[in-house]
């Protein structure tokens, strides 16, 4: 076996030279000072490859047009096996890549590794940082939800404000008439067609230059023997990659990548916020108003990028030990404090969501239920029915099994006197009024094995809102999801027609806002009003 492997390697060496090239790559001598601080480049490369892999997988199920993008992403998240994990890896991988690329640059900066003859290696690194940020900017639009749309509106407006280049930038971004299909096509093309090959080419050039000039030695290294890249440094790089992957995988599993409602260009209440790594720019903009705005939007960021490129030409002093590079260390600390302070200020100035939001990254089948069925979910939760009636529980039958469903009248009799209807039943009577029991029965009759987990996703504010709707007998005049009367206007699509504050005020005094309305006034508690309005605003058109 060993001989066969050796002859295969010999054959490959003869035909391709690959084994020899790998060997010389691993045998490369690095300075004695090499170590853990030099792992970030390898981790960044690994994260780039992970992004490429998960991006390709997403593209297999993603339709890149504004009309379809959102629905196809929801399909990936709610129906495709592993879709949520793949999207989570891509979403959190993007953030981690920014973190690791910046850590890599900070390490190079602090150690002065950009100095002669490594100026071009540094400058290529700056370009790679800008490409990484461009991935973030262009990828942000692709889910085509409200967050993506409004964030991109702001980004394109900033580009438009650039002196001289502004109008050209706007046209280049396809946003001359606002963010739309052309903007989307261009962002997608840049994200998947332009950036990946450019990144690969630049990484190759970057790695070539690292190899050409060797890993940067520290003062004192000249007296110590150099060591091979393999195995000590390879082990450190691999361990760092493993840790990064473990963090990424945990984030992808444990933290939901956000998806808001479908982009709505008419939503005047949406407050856009950029991704966390751009928040410092967003906050900087607040310091410059009116004609000075371009200072924050273009001039300062432009100067910062120029300064980054110029670093090797500004600092041309000879190499000193990292512990003596106090100016560089102080600069990095100041930059971190500045960035952290601006980001924290932006986070603190973000208004808390005044109203509950629907998680559109999960199934939203509950939106199709009638208010009566929705209220049934509230009673189902209130009475803790699932503690006995769930798949796998031996205490009560699994209520999703349609084969055991009986009619509503039977169920209500059973709720009231379980043992009388099913002799031997241990179930305690459900102590609710008739209307509530009707709701509970209506919901249970909707349950199937297929929709149970999706209906369990119904947010609390919506089911509580439906309870208020039922208690107020709103269905006597209004229709929701095809159920109810048509005396008043149907309430589906209310979010498109009215503002929340209008609806809130309308409950208290309908005639004031709708002269001639026969709707009685409702004195709802603040909590009930909030839940009811939020529920009504989730109803589709």
């Amino acid at each position: 076996m060993k001989r066969q492997v050796e002859s295969l390697i010999a054959w490959l060496e003869d035909r391709t030279g690959l084994p020899g090239a790998i060997q010389s790559f691993l045998d490369e001598k690095i300075p004695a000072s090499g170590g853990w601080h030099q792992v970030f480049g390898s981790v960044a490369m690994f994260l780039f490859l992970t992004q490429a892999f998960t991006g390709i997988l997403l593209a297999f199920n993603y339709a890149p047009t504004p009309g379809e993008a959102y629905n196809s992403l929801r399909y990936i998240l709610t129906e495709v096996t592993g879709g949520r994990l793949i999207r989570g890896l891509h979403h959190w991988g993007a953030s981690m890549m920014i973190v690791v690329v910046v850590l890599h640059m900070m390490q190079v900066f602090v150690f002065g590794a950009y100095k002669k003859p490594r100026e071009t290696t540094w400058m290529l690194g700056v370009v790679l940082l800008l490409l990484t940020l461009t991935y973030g900017l262009t990828g942000y639009l692709l889910p085509w939800d409200n967050r993506a749309y409004w964030g991109t509106v702001v980004a394109t407006k900033i580009a438009a404000s650039a002196p001289i280049a502004g109008p050209y930038m706007t046209r280049l971004l396809g946003a001359a008439k606002g963010v739309g299909v052309v903007t989307f096509a261009r962002f997608y093309a840049v994200h998947v067609l332009l950036l990946p090959p450019a990144t690969m080419l630049l990484i190759l050039a970057h790695v070539y230059l690292v190899r050409r000039h060797g890993v940067t030695p520290q003062p004192g290294d000249e007296t110590l023997p150099r060591k091979p890249f393999y195995p000590a440094q390879v082990f450190k790089d691999t361990a760092a990659i493993f840790i990064a992957f473990a963090v990424l995988f945990t984030l992808a599993v444990a933290a939901k990548a956000p998806l808001e409602q479908l982009a709505d260009p008419t939503d005047t209440t949406y407050i856009p916020r950029p991704e966390w790594y751009f928040l410092f720019l967003f906050q900087t903009l607040k310091f410059f108003e009116g004609p000075l705005e371009i200072v924050g939007s273009t001039i300062l960021p432009g100067l910062a990028v120029l300064a980054l490129f110029a670093v090797p030409f500004i600092d041309r002093a000879r190499m000193v030990k990292v512990t003596r590079r106090t100016v560089a260390i102080g600069f990095v600390i100041l930059a971190c404090i500045g960035w952290g302070g601006l980001t924290a200020a932006a986070v603190m100035s973000t208004p808390r969501e005044a109203v509950a939001q629907v998680d559109y990254s999960a199934p939203t089948d509950w939106i199709q239920l009638s208010p009566e069925e929705m209220a049934g979910i509230a009673y189902f939760r209130q009475e803790s029915c699932a503690s006995c009636h769930s798949a796998g529980s031996s205490l009560g039958p699994d209520l999703t099994r349609t084969a055991i469903h009986k009619d509503a009248a039977w169920m209500i009799r059973h709720f009231k006197q379980p043992a009388a209807v099913r002799p031997g039943s241990d179930m305690p009577p459900v102590e609710l009024g008739d209307a509530q029991l009707n709701s509970l029965a209506a919901f249970l009759l909707k349950l199937t094995p297929e929709n149970a987990s999706a209906l369990a996703e119904a947010p609390d504010f919506a089911v509580r809102g439906a309870v208020v709707y039922q208690a107020g007998h709103c269905a006597a005049c209004h229709m929701v999801n095809g159920v109810g009367m048509k005396v008043g206007p149907p309430l589906n699509g209310l979010a498109k027609r009215q503002t929340r504050s209008w609806v809130d005020d309308h409950f208290a005094n309908p005639q004031k806002l709708s002269p001639g309305s026969i709707m009685p006034p409702y004195q709802l508690s603040a909590e009930d009003k909030k839940n009811l309005t939020a529920y009504l605003f989730t109803l589709p058109e």
Binding site: Y75, E79, E450
Partner: protein, 143 residues
Amino acid sequence: MASALGLPALAYLLTPPKSKQQKLWIEIGELNKFATGAPLEVAFRRNRTDAWKVVSEKDTAWVVKRADGGVTAFGPQCTHLGCAYHWDDGRQQFLCPCHSSLFRIDGSVISGPAQRPLDRYETKVENGKLMLGRLGTATERRA
């Protein structure tokens, strides 16, 4: 790491997605408008879920009311290569114009190249109205 990425990727690409439930039964019309032993092609619209889209599309079925009062509804495509066949009144057979496959009124093959009987819809009659369900092979429907 390879398995943590590779296995979800394989599941992502190879396992069928959870499908959303669509309205299964389509009402075709009064059963008594069909004459016994005279196949009739009926057209109807049904919603088909195509990943994230629900497409409303025209579909057809050949409906045969049997002498025993039951009803069979055949899918409109020949089981050879999917051409649309028709009922030949003179020969009292289903004839496929593409490669001349012939089927009896019960859907069984008289002569090839088709190898298996015509596909069938699930059928049921409610309040005198014929309803069609999913399309499947004759073997599935008999099972």
